[in-house]
């Protein structure tokens, strides 16, 4: 992290840090602000987090608040839920989304339902962070993008920070939420640098953001696919096509207003989603556009998703399976030629 003094306009001071530093700073800040906050998960303490996002925090806050857990996803996720019910503000870290399947009972049957089953008496202010996504040759069991799947569940919120500012500040907003919030971080972003206002403050997590303005087509995306979409937009700009790129930031709730508003302006849309196409969040978004803005559309919505295959290990095969800038460019050209 380094102080940059002023930003390009010479107005607001900004700081520069990596996504990883932002995540850590967010956790550190939360631990300092609120004594009810603690972090638990596999290897968050002595090891420093399997992506080094919590490195050193155990020395600063001690093993009580940076709590290494046994390899028991269901027990420690459920313990986070119970601790939240008991007045704490736990941050549960599940190493990667694939392991969250071992805690799905707790997330779905308890975190998402207890407020409702109790008739509104007992809320569950737990935050569950996990890594998601492919692209690092980790093969079929370590490359899932299941955030859209979790977004199916009423009772939880699903945040997908893509930019460094969101990595830094979404956590605090999530901790202030009275209900369970799942935060999905794509590990391919951890080394990415970015700037954010030095005088940072909590961001809302229910609104999408337009990351690039354009008039010809709307690209709707989230998390690491944002950067592939922005790269595609650069390529398209060189050809005179102005793409508007929307970062959803939250998959539940979805900010219909922002992306439907953009479609109303551009009349053409492409959804980029690292999940599999069938039953995906991209399917949900396309349906909502159809429901809310059908007559605004000049062409059918296109989707760029992961091929319907468990992720292969071999690099060329994995790349072929995932959304890539070229595929996004092709999809945009298709909707523009329709």
């Amino acid at each position: 992290m380094k102080q940059n003094g002023k930003n390009g306009n010479g107005t607001l001071p900004v700081i520069e840090m990596t996504y990883r530093e932002a995540v850590k700073e967010g956790i550190r800040d939360a631990l300092r602000r609120d004594e009810r906050v603690f972090l638990m998960g596999e290897d968050v303490g002595l090891y420093g987090g399997c992506f080094a996002a919590t490195k050193g925090l155990i020395n600063e806050f001690g093993p009580d608040r940076i709590r290494d857990t046994p390899m028991s996803e269901s027990a420690f996720t459920g313990a986070g839920i119970g601790a939240a019910m008991g007045g704490m503000r736990p941050i549960v870290e599940i190493m990667t989304v694939n392991f969250s399947l071992l805690a799905l009972d707790q997330i779905m049957n308890n975190a998402a339902t207890i407020l409702h089953m109790s008739g509104g008496q007992i809320n569950v202010p737990v935050v569950i962070r996990m890594a998601t996504g492919a692209g690092r040759q980790l093969a079929a069991q370590h490359s899932h993008s299941l955030e859209g799947w979790f977004a199916h569940i009423p009772g939880i919120k699903v945040a997908v920070p893509a930019v460094v500012e969101d990595a830094r500040w979404m956590l605090w907003t999530a901790l202030e939420d009275p209900d369970p919030v799942l935060i999905f971080e794509n590990p391919s972003l951890y080394n990415m640098g970015g700037t954010l206002p030095a005088e940072g403050r909590p961001v809302d997590i229910s609104k999408a953001r337009i990351r690039r303005e354009g008039k010809d087509v709307t690209i709707i995306t989230y998390s690491a696919s944002l950067f592939k979409s922005l790269a595609a937009a650069d390529t398209l700009a060189a050809e005179g096509i102005e793409a508007e790129v929307i970062d959803l930031r939250s998959l539940r709730p979805l900010d219909d207003e922002t992306y439907v508003g953009s479609i109303a302006k551009t009349h053409r849309g492409v959804i980029v989603d690292e999940g599999w196409k069938t039953g995906s969040i991209s399917a949900e978004i396309a349906t909502r556009i159809m429901e809310q803005a059908f007559y605004e559309l000049d062409a059918p919505i296109e989707r760029v998703c992961t091929a319907e295959v468990p992720l292969p290990y071999a690099k060329h095969m994995e790349e072929a399976a995932l959304p890539q800038p070229e595929k996004i460019v092709a999809a945009v050209k298709k909707v523009l030629s329709a």
Partner: protein, 339 residues
């Protein structure tokens, strides 16, 4: 090499505590409340006033009453889908319990939960969990919150013998012990996981021995004898509250009725059920109290009268209760925060 299990941590608890007339009447009253409430529920189920899954506790009442009566009112309780008895023993009003059975908004979960999901935040009753072993991680978390906030509470976590066949049980026993959390794990061993007898589903049907794998203090107790339950629960709770970590209690009990309202009971004989009925705590305990000269038939008749009146009041309350407006359907998915 001798590989038999060490037995140091394992004991069959036969101790009892001295009992006086007041305590005797209290325990009997609480068990009667549960029994008569559920008998009425059974009747109301036949009359289609109550629907959904309904699991009765008939025969197991001594466990809830014996254990919960030695807890403090703010000790959290986590129970299962067979939780009517635990809720009543904790002091959740019978009126709101019955209204919940009806699905009325005056119910202890506004009619959103039903028979399997009683909740009462004010009375620290955290459900009513219908996933076998699903409540254990929550109980561990409640205990973690207490330990981290230095509150001297004990979380009582009730579950059935089927829960020991779930991974969550083993994860939670380990986690609670590693972190020395103040949890009392209570397995109500009624000897069937739904209809599967322990002999064909457990390689170690002697359930109390499981605790040894986690180096956890443990006892096994006759769940039909409320005085033994009372004694062992007092000792376990005191030990946990003193900071000695979690405790595992096996309560050997039996449910006299079917698993739920959809169970033809093919897996056990009528003779077995009849034999266990001989041990019914609602027969043996009043007989004991009378033999000790602590209560009379007239006392018992008076208790029955009180309980009948309370049950009637609960039915009247539920009948008079109201249906939540359908417009409210999507409430309670997220907290309602004043903006």
């Amino acid at each position: 090499m001798d590989i038999t299990m060490p037995v140091d941590a394992i004991e069959v608890s036969d101790e009892t505590v001295p009992i006086d007339r007041e305590r005797g009447l209290f325990l009997l009253h609480q068990m009667l409340r549960i029994r008569r409430f559920e008998e009425k529920c059974y009747e109301l189920y036949q009359a289609a006033k109550i629907r959904g899954f309904m699991h009765l506790y008939d025969g197991e009442e001594a466990a809830a009453v014996g254990i919960i009566s030695v807890l403090n009112p703010d000790d959290p309780i986590v129970a299962t889908y067979r939780e009517h008895g635990h809720a009543l023993a904790r002091g959740v009003p019978m009126t709101t319990c019955m209204a919940e059975m009806y699905g009325k908004q005056e119910g202890c979960a506004r009619g959103r939960g039903g028979s399997m999901h009683f909740f009462d935040a004010e009375r620290h009753f955290y459900g009513g969990n219908a996933i076998v072993a699903g409540g254990l991680p929550v109980a561990v978390g409640l205990a973690l919150a207490d330990k981290m906030q230095k509150r001297p509470r004990v979380t009582a976590c009730f579950f059935g013998d089927g829960a020991l066949q779930e991974g969550e049980f083993h994860e939670c026993m380990n986690l609670a012990k590693v972190w020395e959390l103040p949890v009392l794990f209570i397995v109500e061993n009624n000897q069937f996981a739904m209809g599967v007898p322990l002999e064909i589903s457990e390689c170690v049907p002697d359930l109390v021995r499981k605790a040894d794998a986690y180096d956890m203090a443990a006892s096994c107790v006759d769940g039909m004898d409320i005085l033994k339950l009372d004694a062992v629960a007092r000792r376990a709770v005191a030990q946990i509250r003193s900071g000695a970590g979690p405790y595992f209690l096996e309560v050997k009990t039996y449910r006299f009725r079917a698993h739920s309202m959809f169970d033809a009971e093919q897996y056990r004989s009528k003779e077995d059920v009849a034999n266990w009925r001989q041990k019914d705590p609602l027969v043996s305990f009043p007989a004991y109290l009378k033999a000790q000269g602590l209560v009379t038939d007239a006392d018992i008749a008076e208790l029955e009268r009180q309980v009948a009146a309370e049950v009637k009041e609960s039915v009247d309350f539920a009948e008079a209760g109201t249906w939540e407006p359908v417009e409210d359907l999507e409430r309670f998915v997220y907290s309602e925060v004043a903006s």
